[in-house]
């Protein structure tokens, strides 16, 4: 398993709340091969961002994180101490977030924000760190990078700020980049540019990319593999073309059907919406979390455990009625 950049088994994240324990991530298995892009897709509250934040170890202390296995870049990190995580962050794995306006500090120059981490972690001199920053800004397509190091974030547009965030994530030359909704706050034309940039960086630098999104259009354009998350678990996982061509989980099917496609969905027709809403995750959950919204649901769906199937190599679907859905 040396070509696995990330290999996680049974990740659980629970958060104590006033109403009881919120089991936000309920046993997630994830793996990403070196140089590949895995898209983690799901709707608000499904636990996709918490999964990512748990991987990089940035969850607050009160969140309880457990894993059966956690390996990154060939290292076994199952016993995750803060010191080991801190060492890994920025070097092996880096993360970019949704809104570059709130993640960049408005009172510090771009140069200062880019170099702070590597000067500490790699003990680079100011000069070396600046040279690295210029290299990375150039990489992400910021024109005239040397001159722009002394500028503040407000001097850049939204798309440029996201480029700067990407440059900042690349400063430690990570092997795995986690991007949490990196284009959601951007206009469509800028989104296209940022996705193209991520794609290009990935093939140039051999990065592995874990991209979290709710947008199946983004998934279709950039993913190698897709994991569909629902209520804290992976409902389905498949290579991108297989997932869109033949979705096997009723939830995946529902998601794909609910999106109007210009030229295909008849104008003004009723869209096949998924009825109901996501279940609450406070306390234990019995059986399949999707069964209340599922048209295939039967009595068996209330039973634990929900069986996982591998309908084809590289595919996984967790559903009591998998055979019936596939038929």
């Amino acid at each position: 398993m040396t070509d696995m950049m990330l290999d996680i088994k049974n990740l659980q994240v629970s958060i104590p709340t006033d109403r009881g324990t919120l089991n936000a991530v309920r046993g997630v298995d994830l793996s990403i091969s070196a140089g590949k892009t895995l898209c983690l897709v799901g709707e608000s509250g499904c636990g996709k961002s918490l999964t990512a934040t748990a991987i990089i170890g940035l969850l607050p202390r009160y969140a309880k994180v457990t894993t059966e296995r956690f390996a990154m870049a060939g290292q076994d990190l199952t016993a995750r101490t803060e010191a080991r995580l801190a060492k890994m962050r920025g070097r092996d794995v880096a993360m970019i977030f949704q809104d570059p306006t709130s993640t960049l500090n408005p009172t510090l120059t771009i140069g200062r924000q880019l170099t702070e981490g590597v000067m500490r972690a790699e003990r680079l001199s100011r000069k070396e760190a600046d040279a690295r920053a210029i290299e990375m800004l150039d990489r992400v397509g910021i024109a005239n990078p040397a001159a722009r190091l002394v500028q503040y974030p407000h001097g850049f547009s939204g798309g440029q700020r996201q480029r700067i965030m990407i440059a900042s994530a690349l400063m430690g030359r990570p092997k795995l980049l986690i991007a949490d909704e990196p284009t959601t706050a951007l206009d469509v034309t800028i989104q296209a540019q940022i996705l193209a940039l991520l794609d290009e960086l990935q093939s140039d630098l051999g990065l592995s990319l874990l991209l979290i999104t709710h947008d199946l259009g983004v998934v279709a354009s950039i993913a190698d593999e897709v994991a569909v998350m629902y209520a804290g678990r992976i409902a389905e996982r498949a290579p991108v073309k297989d997932l869109f061509r033949a979705p096997q989980h009723p939830y995946t099917r529902g998601l794909l059907a609910a999106i109007p496609v210009p030229g295909q969905t008849p104008r003004g027709s009723e869209l096949p919406a998924i009825p109901g809403r996501v279940p609450g995750l406070v306390g234990p959950l019995k059986g399949c979390a999707f069964r209340d919204r599922c048209s295939f649901a039967g009595e068996i769906c209330g039973q634990d455990p929900v069986p996982g199937h591998a309908p084809a190599p590289g595919r996984f679907v967790e559903c009591h009625k998998a055979a019936e859905v596939a038929a």
Partner: protein, 334 residues
């Protein structure tokens, strides 16, 4: 665009709105022209999509349409009457908004029944309670939610509340400003279905503002594309999606991501330079980012002209093709 004896439900003519602001602290006041020379007509029962990227002026246009903002120049008529001449009471019974974020547009300390009933209550309606119950049913919310607070509802349910509240005065026009952008796709489909059924049931006239072209394509009869305060193209939905004329519309369409892995990375038909709303342009405002730009574009003032089924603000559009190669002439609505 039917120009029969009945006036259009909404008619905006030559709207201009500028904000005067300081770009930086202590910098001199500058003018940001948010909407410039915007004319738009929406026939009764029609749905018009208004699309464009952040800062293109679509929300300013909406505020002006609703009578919430006074334009510097130009006229807005709703159902044939100037909006300035309407009393508030008359106005709210004609035109109502649904905004993007129901979390922000609903007062969190009021119960759902009171939120939905408020417009009726304020404008002297009777049977508020019965009407609220009817509205809840109409937008597909269970009656028991009448006593709930917005915080107890999901995002989709809150948007249903916002729609119920907008419709309780039985307006003829519904202005939806990104009503599904804050929602998940499965819920987005529910809200789109609801808007479609309400529209056909009540013959509503709708203006649908969105940056999501797929949603606009699904709902709108006609689409107007805005760029930096100007309408750059307007066409019937099919014509726009089958053969966009303006380079900016083409770029928008190319950047729209489809849920189809065979299409690969979106094509980029637009320069990386960001749009500058403060800049003054002698020629085309899109020229600095345009892939089809010609020298004359920077100096020639662009006016709307007819090209095939579209009305386009671009002098070079259609030059190479044969479609509608008619000589450029100023369109009736510019």
């Amino acid at each position: 665009m039917t120009r029969s004896q009945t006036p259009p439900m909404i008619r905006m003519t030559g709207i201009r709105k500028a904000y005067r602001l300081h770009r930086k602290l202590f910098a001199p006041v500058e003018e940001l022209v948010a909407v410039n020379d915007l004319s738009l007509e929406v026939a009764a029962g029609e749905t018009v999509g208004l699309v464009g990227e952040s800062g293109c002026g679509k929300s300013t246009a909406v505020s002006i349409m609703l009578g919430l903002l006074k334009p510097d120049r130009g006229e807005v008529e709703i159902a044939g009457r100037k909006i300035g001449a309407l009393s508030v009471d008359e106005r709210v019974r004609l035109i109502q908004p649904v905004f993007q974020n129901p979390n922000a547009s609903l007062n969190p300390v009021k119960r759902i029944a009171s939120l939905i009933g408020q417009p009726l209550h304020l404008h002297g309606g009777e049977n508020v309670k019965a009407e609220v119950a009817r509205m809840l049913d109409l937008v597909g919310l269970p009656a028991r939610l009448a006593d709930a607070y917005p915080g107890e509802l999901s995002g989709g349910q809150r948007q249903r509340v916002a729609i119920a509240r907008a419709l309780i005065l039985k307006p003829r026009v519904l202005i939806c400003d990104e009503p599904t952008s804050a929602l998940d796709v499965s819920v987005q489909a529910q809200i789109i279905n609801l808007l479609l059924s309400l529209k056909s049931e009540f013959g509503l006239t709708m203006v649908f503002v969105s940056h999501n072209l797929a949603v606009v394509e699904h709902l709108a009869d006609r689409v107007a594309v805005m760029y930096l305060g100007q309408k750059v193209e307007e066409a019937p939905t099919d014509a726009l999606f089958d053969g966009a004329q303006h380079p900016y519309t083409k770029a928008l369409l190319a950047a729209t991501l489809l849920p189809d892995p065979e299409t690969g990375m979106p094509e980029q038909l637009i320069g990386a330079a960001p749009a500058d709303p403060f800049a003054t342009y002698a020629g085309c405002r899109f020229a600095p980012r345009c892939r089809e730009v010609q020298e004359s574009c920077h100096t020639t003032e662009q006016t709307l002209r007819r090209l095939g089924a579209s009305s386009v603000r671009c002098t070079i559009a259609g030059q190479k093709g044969r479609v509608g190669a008619a000589e450029p002439k100023p369109s009736g609505c510019s």
